[in-house]
Each structure stands twice: as C-alpha cells, then as structure tokens.
Amino acid sequence: MSEAAQFTIEQFYRFIAEKKIMAVKCENCGKILIPPRPLCPNCLSTSLKWIQLKGRGKLLTYTVIHVAPEKFQHLVPYIFGIVELDEGVRLPGIIQGVKPEDLKIGMTLEIDFKVDIPQTWPQWPRYFFKPP
C-alpha cells in the first residue's frame, strides 16, 4: 500500500478491491476514521496515516430488509446491520451466511469482499459481513 494514497472514500474502496479493510488513524489524537477523511473531525489535524483493520467485530444491531431500492431488489429479504469492529469503529453492511432467526446481537462477524467493479460511477466494489 502506498503511503501517498489520498485519504478519500475512493481510496477506501480501492483497498476494498484489494480485499483490505483500511482506515485512517489520526497521529495527533489517535482517533480511527472510517471512512477515511483528509481532516480529523476530532482535533482538526491533517497528520494522518493508513492502518489496516482486522476485519472482525461484533453485531450491534440488525434488520431484515424486505423492500429495497431497485439495485438490491434481487437480494430481498436480506440482512443489514451495524458491526463494531475490534478496533472500536463501526461499519454498516449486508450480512450473509446466517439465517435471520439465528442472528444475535453481540455475535462475531467478519468482513468478506465482493470485488466486481461496476462500469459506471461509482466504480466501487462492496464488502459484506459473514460469520467466521
């Protein structure tokens, strides 16, 4: 990974395409920022560096979506949740590989990747969560 990589959402998704979940750490106050930003909202520092997260965490809350926007209609019903990663930051996303009735708040999940890139903007791959 290049240290010169810009602290942008575009770059966050370029790393996702490499199957890496990357965040930015503020070297001044220590706050971890995901998605990355060019300016720490906590201390206003621009002294930042990329760190790779382990991609594991615990389920904080979830829902099962039955009515979705068109590009997700083919997936319904699908599970969507918020996961608190081991490093303390949170990410939203689709959860696969578990039945709705088996979901439990606090269960361990890990990140996996679906790296086909769309032809039109935004040319971003996707990440999702699954049980380890």
Binding site: I9, T61, Y62, I65, F80, P92, I94, I105
Partner: protein, 390 residues
C-alpha cells in the same frame, strides 16, 4: 409570562394531504397559501411579505430544482425574494428557523415560511430510492440500506436494550390513525387495530407497513411577523418562544447511541432553555413519527418520559387525545401523511390550530404551550420549536 416571543405566527395554511393525482407541488402550495391569506384579511400579501423561505427535500420527484422562485410566483408575492432550504425531512422545520432569523435580524417584518413535496407521481421503488438519498451514500446507501432499515436498526437496538415491544410500536400507529380520522386534511382516514399493524407486511424487520409513515403529496405555509406588530394582523397570534437545531453525523453507524438521537436532545435543550420551559410545561406536541419507533424515541429524547420508557409512555395512554400530553393530534406523519418537505410547517400548522382553538374534533382543552419536533434523515438533523398562545 414565560417565553419571550421571537416571532408571531399570524396565519397558516395547509393543503389537503394525500395522493393528489394531477396536482404538482406548486399548485398544492397555492392551495396552502390561499388558506393562509383568506384567514388573515388584514394581511396585504404583495405589500407586506418581504421574503419566502421554503423547505423541500428532493428535486428528483418532479425533476425541478430552483423551486423557490416558483413558489413565490405561485403564491402571488413576486418579487419577494425566496430561497429553498434542504435538510431532508426537516427542510421546512429549518424554514421556520431561518424565517425567525429573518425576523429577529430586523431585516424583515413579515415573512412567509413553507414547505412542499410531490411524491405519489413516482413508484414505491423510485420513492424509496429518492428518500434513501437522505442517508449516507458511500457506506449506507451503497451497501443496501433503506430509510426504513435505518429506523429498524434503532428499533432492534431499543427492543434489545429496553425490552420495547412491537405491540408498543403498534399502539403509536393506532393512536395516530385515530387522530387522523378527526382531521379532514389527513391522507389516511381510517382506524387501525394493533392486530392489523402486527400482521401487516414486513418492510424492514421489526418495522411493518403500518409502522411506516405515508408517501404523500402536500404543502404547508405560515406567516411570521415581528411580535410587536402581530396584532395588526390578528387578535389571536401564536408566539414562537423557543427554537433549537441539533446536527449529528449523517451515518447512523457513526453515532455512539443507537437508541437515542443526540440531535434531538441538543435541539430540545436549546429550545427549552430559550423558552424558559421544561418538558412538563408542554400541553400538546407534534413529533416526527416517520416510523412508530421514531415517536417512541422522541418521547424519551424530548423529556416526556425517561430514556427507555417510551414504550410504557404510549401504553399508559398519556400521548392520546385525552391523555396528559397529547402527541400528534393531527394524525402525525403516520396518518396525516408525510410529504417530507412540507412536514415541519405542517406540524406548526397543527400547533397553530390547537393554540388558537381551531382544531375542531381533535381540540385539546385549554392548551397554552405547544412543541414541534422535526427530524431530518435518520436523525442527523433535528429541529424543535416551542410555541405559546398569544
């Protein structure tokens, strides 16, 4: 007397809410404006109104940006300068606040504030997508979130932390549908039962169809003046005595607490402090029940009950029409309807009716102090206003 008047409301208007086939938002706005003018004969709109601040969420529904001058024109008040403000579903709550700023600055003696949204011309899929645009695009929308899903995430967390039940959420819908039957301008004009709510189809578990507000067409407006000139226009002004605006991270995932909205707590504190009042002083409130869980969380964040006790609060009957603190007497977003940009000023309209004794079958006896609570998106914006009978 508590609460220094910041501005006076001397008139207000509301279009019929609903599926208004064949009408575009500018025509609905004209309908609301006509009521505000007709009920305020001392107002000379073309001469008196110095600005229009209008809330609207999305240009996508009608393929129309730059809508503020259109509304000024359709209201017949050109060349009154106009501007559109947008903070998702709180857009016209913001219009009220920026109308206040215009009055308090001394630049304008009289302003019109309003809001509008045309929505039912689109399919449910299109509307779902446009509404989801008020959530974070790169992480939430891109990864499959919908608007109901974000509130469902809060509902799941609230149920887990406090034991709130789907039955308690259903009671919010039952109450608001009942109130809607007493409001001729409400979109939905029928009662529902707890059983009907619980057995309606799932949208985003645990939220079902009857936990969700309505996709509606509608427009709203109000005339604000300097408090000291209000009696030129009406014998029964309503004063705005508190205004609060809270802002938080747009992504639900970025917020520490999934069972409470910090933006609401910030806005409520600012408004209560400005008015010199506390939650127990409120006689009637319109809160942002975009989903039933949102009303339960609003009870808690506005201080109507303790954190975690919102479910018990609705069970107790306190927020019903004959309870100790009637909430959403209009039917709320749930039954009156939720043309998103119109909602903030539509809430003001209901409080204006209540505090001037014009709420007919849903009139709350002897009410003096009212409150409106208007959320944007999943809660990155919240605007609270407090009102006193003049």
């Amino acid at each position: 007397m508590k609460g220094r008047p910041l501005a006076a409301i001397v008139s207000a208007g509301l279009s019929k809410f609903g599926k208004r086939d064949g009408f575009s938002s500018r025509e609905l706005f004209a309908e609301a404006v006509k009521e505000a003018f007709d009920t305020c004969p001392n107002l000379d709109p073309k001469k008196d109104i110095k600005a229009l601040i209008v809330g609207n969420m999305s240009e996508a529904f009608e393929h129309q940006c730059h809508s503020a001058p259109i509304m000024s024109d359709w209201a017949g008040i050109l060349p009154a300068p106009s501007v559109r403000v947008e903070v998702a579903c709180a857009s016209s709550g913001a219009a009220i606040r920026y109308g206040l700023f215009a009055i308090i600055s001394g630049l304008c003696d009289v302003v019109m504030v309003g809001g509008f949204e045309k929505m039912t011309n689109r399919t449910t899929l299109e509307a779902t997508e446009y509404l989801a645009m008020a959530s974070d695009f790169p992480l939430e929308q891109w990864n499959g979130a919908t608007f109901p899903a974000l509130f469902a995430l809060m509902a799941t967390a609230h149920m887990h932390k406090y034991g709130t039940t789907e039955e308690q959420m259903a009671l919010v819908a039952v109450k608001n549908h009942h109130n809607g039957t007493l409001n001729p301008k409400a979109h939905m004009q029928r009662e529902v039962t707890v059983e009907q709510v619980l057995s309606s189809r799932i949208i985003a578990k645990p939220l079902k169809l009857f936990d969700c507000s309505l996709i509606s067409d509608g427009a709203s407006c109000a005339i604000l003046t300097r408090p000291d000139i209000a009696r030129k226009y009406t014998d029964t002004p309503v004063y705005i005595i508190g205004s609060g605006h809270g802002t938080d991270a747009i992504g639900l995932y970025e917020r520490d607490d999934l069972t409470s909205l910090k933006a609401t707590r910030i806005a409520a504190k600012e408004a209560y402090d400005m008015a010199g009042l506390s939650p127990k002083d409120i006689d009637v409130a319109e809160v942002h029940d975009c989903f039933t869980i949102a009303e339960i969380i609003a009870y808690e964040d506005l201080g109507f009950c303790n954190p975690g006790e919102g479910g018990k609060f609705i069970e107790s009957g306190a927020p019903t029409l004959d309870g100790s603190l009637p909430v959403n007497t209009s039917g709320g977003l749930k039954a009156k309807g939720h043309p998103v940009g119109a909602t903030g000023v539509a809430q003001l309209y209901e409080i204006f009716l209540q505090l001037t004794g014009q709420a007919d079958k849903r009139q709350v006896d002897d009410c003096e102090i009212g409150l409106t609570h208007n959320l944007g998106g999943s809660g990155a914006t919240c605007i609270v206003h407090i009102y006193r009978r003049g």
